[in-house]
Amino acid sequence: MSTLAAWLLSDAPESRRQASLGRFFRGWLQLRRNHLAIAGLVAALALILVSLAAPLLATHDPAAQDLTQRYAAPSAEHWLGTDEVGRDLYSRLLYGGRITLGMVVAIMVMVAPLGLAVGTVAGYAGGFADRALMRLTDIFLAFPRLILALAFVAALKPGITSAIIAIALTAWPPYARLARAETLTIRNSDFIAAVRLSGASAARIVLRHIAPLCVSSLIVRVTLDMSGIILTAAGLGFLGMGAQPPMPEWGTMIATTRGEILDAWWVPIAPGIAIFVASLAFNLLGDGLRDVLDPKQG
């Protein structure tokens, strides 16, 4: 272990691989000192694990109703009680994690390539294409995100797919800007000039040489964005514009049972806590990462 650490921390790396691994390792060491970030990392990992293992951990079928057991209090049978049609709340929370994380992943998969494409093309092509694409980006940035997403969902018809598309449509502009900024710095570097001289087409340069270099900063940005996306998704669900019942999405679960806050307050509050924990986990992690990558931002 110590030899490995020494190799990683070596002042005179022998290969590019050793250098970049070493950089990651130093970052990790720094991150490890940040207890809050580690707590976030652990929580985020736990969340992912629990969601993946939901079928094993659940005590009930999350869709099984029992109309005679509506709003039952927590008990040995139902650890967190039951909801409006007598489904087990604990099991639904577990499966809800899958939906939330699934939405986040789906959104990321759509947003990052879209932002990357717009940003790199704009940055590399410059001129009119740049101005047109960036104007489009500005228009999308000019909307408050939730409100634009709401409008999109209303146009598409409420549902989880619409919610994913709507959030993705509102989330890409910052990625495009980031990718464009990176592209601008890379574009004039020597190695791109060399590639260009070797006769590569513009498309090839963007796709093979510029885009891969932008990916790492986009990934960091994705981590920082996670909690925002979780909250937007839950907010849409709460407004009745996200996932639809009987899907156990957390925001939707709150929306359908918020009326019970009087007699069975734990039914709407439990998914609320779940959203908070998930969002906080990613915020803590992102916060720690930011410290590592950009100490000035504090």
Partner: protein, 346 residues
């Protein structure tokens, strides 16, 4: 509530607003086009929204023609633009009034809520950030960090529900939802549309206290999110400022700690801070949609969601346009403040 404002590095936003400065009209046009297309793509037939479920086909056909919905989309858009140029946003189905009148009645409530929230956020957030930077690494600093991270993580509607549960339901020390108690409805003449102000202007102190009490909860809930941003950014700016050479020089001159902190360091971060506050204020428009839903606050957010659910297209377009414009305006303001006041940018 979303993550745009917390996570996007500020310089990116600045550049965004810089380039949009000259092209606000284009941005606004895009905004109108996007909202218009969204309005036309809704799965609810707007004619049904107007005439109801029982209407016979001849009435439906007539209303469709009246709304020019039988014309091609570009023609409809042109008609909309023409009306817009005259300051006519059309009539709302829900309220049976011109959308402009509606916005004039609903927007002040949001303004009242958001302004109160941003004031609370500034009054608490700035000192927290300043002292967190001053005592960097202390328990206080860590506590501030946790509180502000929590603020960015808690869904605003859950916080609102919790507040109602404890302060209204369980403890009974706060009033319920809405802008006023029912019996004050229609009692105070509306001047500004902001209930607290109107009651004070009318000298009606019962109504004043009632309105203030109703405002307290949603404003505090809404303030928490911007509070976290303002605290974090204040702390970050202060850390940078405190590391500056002039601070070292000031210390060498033997100036008092408080003087250095507030006069020299804080004085230097005013400009970026104003920018952050303007952006946070714009961000509150978003939080307002959810907060207004939880607290039945009759503001523009509730108006927007209500009209969305009712396919009240003119209302949706009008409200989105107003929110979008205010958002663009605040971004622009932040941008201008940055350019005009900060010598480094000049």
């Amino acid at each position: 509530m979303s993550g745009t404002s917390d996570a996007s590095p500020l310089p990116v936003r600045f550049r965004a607003s810089l380039s949009s400065l000259a092209s606000v009209p284009i941005t606004l046009f895009g905004l109108i086009l996007v909202t218009f297309l969204i309005g036309r793509a809704m799965p609810i037939d707007p004619v049904i929204a107007i005439v109801g479920d029982h209407a016979p086909p001849d009435v439906i056909a007539r209303v469709r023609a009246e709304l020019a919905l039988d014309k091609p989309l570009p023609v409809q858009f042109w008609i909309y633009l023409e009306h817009l140029a005259r300051g006519d946003l059309g009539s709302s189905v829900m309220t049976s009034r011109p959308v402009t009148t509606d916005i004039a009645t609903f927007f002040p409530a949001t303004l009242e809520l958001a302004t109160t929230a941003i004031l609370i956020a500034i009054l608490l957030g700035v000192p927290l950030g300043v002292f967190a930077a001053r005592y960097q690494g202390s328990h206080f600093d860590h506590a501030v960090r946790v509180v502000s991270l929590a603020g960015q993580s808690v869904p605003i509607f859950v916080l609102g529900l919790l507040c109602l549960l404890f302060f209204y339901v369980k403890l009974g020390i706060a009033p319920g939802t809405g802008q006023q108690d029912v019996l004050f409805e229609g009692m105070v003449r509306e001047v500004t549309g902001m209930r607290v102000l109107d009651a004070a202007l009318a000298g009606d102190w019962d109504a004043f206290w009632d309105a203030l009490a109703h405002l307290a909860q949603p404003a505090l809930v809404l303030a928490y999110f911007s509070l976290s941003i303002i605290t974090r950014m204040t702390r970050a700016f202060m850390l940078e400022a405190l590391a500056g050479e002039y601070i070292v020089a000031a210390r060498a001159k033997g100036l008092s700690d408080a003087r250095i902190l507030w006069r020299h360091a804080f004085g230097n971060i005013m400009v970026p801070l104003i920018t952050v506050i303007a952006l946070a204020y714009a961000g509150l428009l978003e939080g307002a949609v959810l907060t207004e839903t939880v607290f039945s606050w009759p503001g523009i957010g509730l108006y927007l969601t209500g009209s969305l659910l009712n396919a009240d297209m003119n209302a949706v377009l009008g409200a989105t346009l107003v929110i979008g414009s205010v958002y663009v305006g605040l971004n622009l303001l932040a941008d201008l403040a940055y350019r005009l006041l900060d010598p480094r940018v000049r």
